[in-house]
């Protein structure tokens, strides 16, 4: 397979679509947690029940067409290669728990990978919908549509007072987790994010690094999501998150402009050094790669670099993860080999840009 085709097939097709505010918001996501009335939750269920849930899903939903998103394909965790599962995790289509710890775990994935329904994770089903840019309302609509389709054939565990009943009390009520992935180099460089995070926590929102561990965010990419699922309507949860995200977008833009004004030459130097590293490095660790990719994306957004497409950040953040590197290499790699492979993948990807533009 040519490198170009590898990249195309590796990425979700929606990632090449444009959306509102894609310069700062990489993607919007909504997840609805639901359980079936007739079965105990996956946290305790018997093998027979797990099997029955899968059979029910297979019968009713495998191969079903969802408008605009294509067919749903059923992927059963037990029959997938470990590397395939890892790649699905790296694309955020399934959770690490579903990949490694679930019994009778499966996933219904739509052709365009905008819809991923996890089965027998912590809850019987978790409907997840994704879209590029800030489109939480649209994504919620899509998830609601699928939710209604499922409810036509299955009785949900629902209580008039508590709402949708989930394994974990942190999800009960709406079962809704809405989140956005944001690229915030301006707020990190100007050290404003440290002040914003506590304020967001007070509003019932959670901020965490999407890649990497703990509070340190690889590539200045942060995930912001709602904490509260009970006592607030779906619409309010999504609207509140959207309005906070819009404020953060405005602050990120103004801090980028301030940086470009006050430290123009330092910023330009930083961006081109990172660009040089990506073009030339023969060995590169994930952390350094993420930093350089973030710098280059900032350079594109601010107009310093115009020869590279904007999707480079989303693409390379996904492609340079261990699972993808090993898929690209066609076999398992040790950490040191991965760093070499990562550098060569980045160089090839950037060469592709040059060819397209010349």
């Amino acid at each position: 397979m040519s490198f170009e085709r590898f990249v195309q097939s590796a990425l979700s097709s929606w990632m090449n679509e444009d959306g509102p505010d894609t310069d700062i918001v990489l993607s919007s996501r909504v997840r609805l947690a639901r359980n079936f009335k007739d079965f105990t939750f996956p946290t305790v269920f018997s093998d027979e029940e797990g099997q029955e849930v899968i059979e029910l899903i297979k019968k009713e939903f495998a191969g079903k067409k969802i408008s605009e998103c294509g067919q749903l394909e059923l992927l059963e965790m037990d029959s997938l290669e470990p590397l395939h599962k890892r790649v699905l995790v790296e694309k955020h289509l399934i959770s690490p728990n579903l990949a490694s710890d679930s019994s009778f775990g499966a996933c219904l994935l739509s052709d365009n990978e905008k819809v991923s329904i996890m089965i027998n994770e912590e809850d019987h089903i978790r409907i997840q919908c994704l879209a590029p840019g800030l489109q939480l309302t649209e994504v919620l609509q899509m998830a609601n549509h699928i939710d209604d389709l499922v409810e036509e054939t299955v009785d949900y565990a629902y209580d008039e007072e508590r709402g949708y009943l989930t394994s974990c009390p942190t999800n009960v009520g709406t079962g809704l987790r809405a989140s956005v992935m944001m690229h915030l180099p301006g707020l990190v460089l100007t050290q404003q994010l440290n002040q914003i995070i506590p304020a967001m926590n007070q509003l019932g929102l959670v901020v965490r690094g999407t890649y990497g561990e703990g509070s340190e965010a690889l590539g200045n990419i942060f995930q912001i999501s709602n904490q509260i699922t009970l006592g607030k309507s779906e619409k309010d949860i999504v609207n509140d998150l959207t309005s906070v995200v819009q404020q953060i977008i405005a602050q990120e833009r103004s801090s980028r402009n301030a940086l470009a004004k006050t430290s123009h030459i330092q910023l330009e130097d930083r961006i081109y050094r990172s660009f040089g590293t990506l073009i030339n490095a023969r060995i590169i660790e994930s952390k350094e790669a993420a930093t350089c990719i973030s710098d280059v994306r900032l350079g594109i957004d601010l107009g310093y670099i115009d020869s590279i497409s904007k999707t480079i950040l989303n693409e390379l953040m996904i492609l340079t993860q261990p699972g993808f590197l090993q898929k690209y290499a066609g076999g398992p790699l040790q950490a040191y080999e991965r760093d070499i492979r990562r550098a060569s993948l980045i160089r090839e990807r950037l060469k592709l840009e040059k060819n397209e533009n010349s």
Binding site: T43, D101, Y158, S167, T170, E213, I228
Partner: protein, 185 residues
Amino acid sequence: MMLCQECNQMPATLHFTKFINGEKNEIHICEKCAQEMGEVYINQAGQGFSFNNLLSGLLNIEPIFQSSTASAKPKTEELRCKRCNLSFKEFVHVGKFGCEDCYKTFDNQLNPILKRVHSGNTAHIGKIPSRMGDTIHLRKQVAQLKEVLKDLIEKEEFEKAAEIRDEIRSLEKQNDRHVDGGPQS
């Protein structure tokens, strides 16, 4: 020296134990691999641990509050869900329910937990499944109208009150029809 189980090259400097469904899983890796796998491993485990610890912490506060009424404590611990057999003690340990009936079994213990996790909220406002929805909508409407009725009677606005009363009656009739038609809840 223990080698990293991932790359088998570097010394394993990070050691942690994962408990999943009571199954113990020991992981020994080097920092480099840990960093690489950050999302898949450390972060996930970290989140799981801290969240469970937090939740257990929250739940464990209960017995302290209840300790003045000595009889309450053992009762709560012994509480067990008839459908899935999960005990309250086990719930506190894993932080997860086993079935929908757990919500009824542990109803008395639930409000303080939900209040802490959901900023003081204990009741659902939001989507109602459409098939079971009709009767729920009606009942909620009736409950609201009854409040209005009480208010009107207190204010001695009897004419308006009579209108509301008739509205409630017609809604309750509709509700009866629904219940007769569908499964009894």
